[in-house]
Every structure is written in C-alpha cells, then in structure tokens.
Symmetry: C2
Subunit: 213 residues, 2 copies
C-alpha cells in the first residue's frame, strides 16, 4: 500500500476531505455524458468558489487547461488515484446488528474497491444470502482471519463498550485502518488510520441549526 | 423552535462541529463521577489544544473559572442547551431498508431527545416490534403525516434516485431539517437545515490516508 506519495504528505486534511466530494460530482457528470467542465460551472455545482477549486486541485498539479476547463473523466480518475481508489481493499465487518448489516449492504452496493471478506459477530449468525462470498464467523476467529486473509480495513459496528477491544484485536492482527461507527474515540497507535462516523455529532449539529429556523 | 439566539449566529461552523464532541466527552466524564476538569486535562482527553478549547467555549460566554477549571455536569448541560438538546424533536424515518432500520435503532438507543413518530417505506412493511410507538406507513402517506403530527426532522435513507423527491415532499409538508444518508446533495430552500452523512467521503478519505502507511 506504500506508494511513497511524499509530494502529497503536506496536503491539509481539509483538502483531503473535499476530494471525495469533487470525485462524487465528477462521477455524476460523467454518467450524464458530460465530457468537460469549467471551474466556474464546477463551482456552481459543488458550492465551493472557483478559486477554492483551482487551489485545491493545484495541490496535485492542476489538471485544468486555460480556456478549456477540466476533462471530467480524466479528473475523476485522477482524483480516484490520489485517493487510492485505483486499488482493491479487503474488509471485515465486526458487529452484525442492524448497523453492521446496513454498512455491509452499503459497501457492496456502492464501493467496488472494497471487498467484504469476513463478517463477525459475538454470536453465531446465520449466513447472509446477500454476502455469499464473505465468511461469517464469531469474533473469537477475528484475529486469525485478519492475519490469514491479509485484511486491510476493519469496519467496527459493535456496541460502544466493546469498540476499543475489537479495534485493538484488529490492529494487532494487522489491519491498517479502522472505519469506526461506534460512539467511542478509539485509542490506537499513530500509524493506524481511523475514520470516525460519529452519528451523534451530525445529529446534534442539525439540532443546533434548527434553533434559528 | 425559534429561540432567538442572535448572539450565537456568528459562531463558525467549525466551532459548532466541535461542540457535540465536547459534550460527548463531558458526558463520559460525568458517567465516571468526575465533577471538574481543567482545560489542560480536557485538552489531553479530546485532542484539541487548551487554547482552542478556551477560545471555543468563550464564544458562548466561557463557563470556566480561573484556577478551578470546568464543572463537568454544568458544561455538559450548557453545551446541550446551546445545541438545542434541552428540547424534544419528532422524527420520521423515510426508507426502511437496512440503513433505515439501523438509523431507527441508533436513534432509539442513543438519542433520547429525538422521537421516532413514523416510519415510511415504498412498500408496505411489517410493523417493527422494536418501534411499537411509531406508525409504519407507505410513502404515499408521508405528506399528510408530517403535517398532522408536526414532524420536525426527516431522516432520509431511500435509494439515491428518490432522495430529492422525498426531501422536497417532507419540506413542503413542513419539516425543518433533513438528516440525509443518501449519496445525493439535496437542493432545498435555504431555510431548511440539511446534515449530510456522506459515507463514501469518509471511506475514501480513509483510503487516502492508508497510502502512506
């Protein structure tokens, strides 16, 4: 996975957060058969200023041509490559309650680069017909499975009180990244990538903004 | 819902995004029986600088006392009030596939201020024993239900191609806010609060950071 992106190491987190959004919109444009777009039109579509867009993309060497705009497909592919979406990743889902099932379903339907290799739960669960290629095991097998299958990412959808233990087990067994859906902020070695989806933070920000309505 | 927080209107989005996180940590401290905390200790716990924390909380008039630190319970409650979590909200879930079920379950278990009044799906669905107080209806009834029940928030977990229509229907019927789990960026009147949970943006940022590992 180490591609030595030394040039990219200085890119701010804010820019990285915006790249998937650029790619998402470019993907939509490509689906509609649109081949090129000016930074002004892209700006109106995405809601960032044209200057912000040029500045963001200049971090990676530009891509635009004066008077022509951006080639939609090329930019889509390039941003994908920057994000590492030209590679394949092996995933385990840990915790197969409603949230785990929803995330497995989401990944299968929307994220072609991420392959669900294993599904884990504390209790023996029934094989899910939707995921016939994934092994379904109890958590006791998590460590061995991650090691044997060279799993890259663990998606954690267990109850909060088990999150830290599950994450440590996954990391000790060799995963490089955790996609964390629990309410817990995990304490893990610095070289582990953690992306938190804190649902409560999002819902509470929504409540805040409702007060002015 | 209009509480006239004119003082708060100038607070930046970045600060608002951090408040739920403060509250989450303070809630954990309170559960552990901890009554007060210095901004330095809070800083080590949350991972923001002590200066950032003081600056953020000063937006709302401070709360800390020199040489004493912050009262955990008081600060927890105050941030809750700022976020509007001293009020109750009525919610509908629109789209009751795996994701809709997961979100209904999440809200019921974790978010006491948000009450699920109705659950909607395109097809007639079986009443969910977990949500015996919520009405379960097909989407054809969405508009009337929102109006009659004075629903505040619509949680949208329908397929992408239906997201815009469902959101417009909910807004026309009177909801003030949309919690959007689809991949679509909704186009809605400016006075509607929209919080997007773009799962792909989070997963793709994770993929990006894995490249340097």
């Amino acid at each position: 996975m180490n591609t030595g992106n030394s040039k990219e190491k200085q890119i701010s987190k804010a820019v990285i957060k915006r790249l998937p959004r650029y790619r998402r919109y470019l993907g939509e444009l490509h689906k509609k058969g649109i081949e090129k777009i000016s930074s002004k039109d892209l700006s109106q579509l995405i809601g960032y200023t044209a200057s912000q867009i040029r500045q963001d993309l200049n971090n990676f060497g530009g891509f635009g041509q004066q008077g022509y705009g951006y080639s939609v497909k090329y930019l889509y592919d390039e941003i994908g490559a920057i994000l590492g979406l030209d590679k394949q990743y092996k995933i385990v889902i840990v915790g197969y309650g409603r949230l785990g099932q929803a995330m497995a379903n989401y990944i299968k339907k929307n994220e072609g680069n991420f392959h669900i290799s294993g599904i884990f739960d504390v209790k023996q669960i029934i094989r899910d017909v939707e995921f016939e290629n994934a092994q379904v095991l109890t958590c006791a097998n998590l460590s061995t499975f991650i090691r044997d299958e060279n799993i890259d990412i663990a998606v954690i959808t267990v109850p909060a009180e088990k999150a830290q233990l599950v994450a440590e087990t996954a990391v000790d067994a060799g995963v490089k990244a955790i996609w964390n859906f629990t309410t817990v902020d995990l304490e893990l070695p610095e070289d582990v990538v953690v992306e938190n989806v804190h649902l409560s933070d999002s819902l509470h920000a929504l409540a805040y903004y409702m007060q002015d309505m």
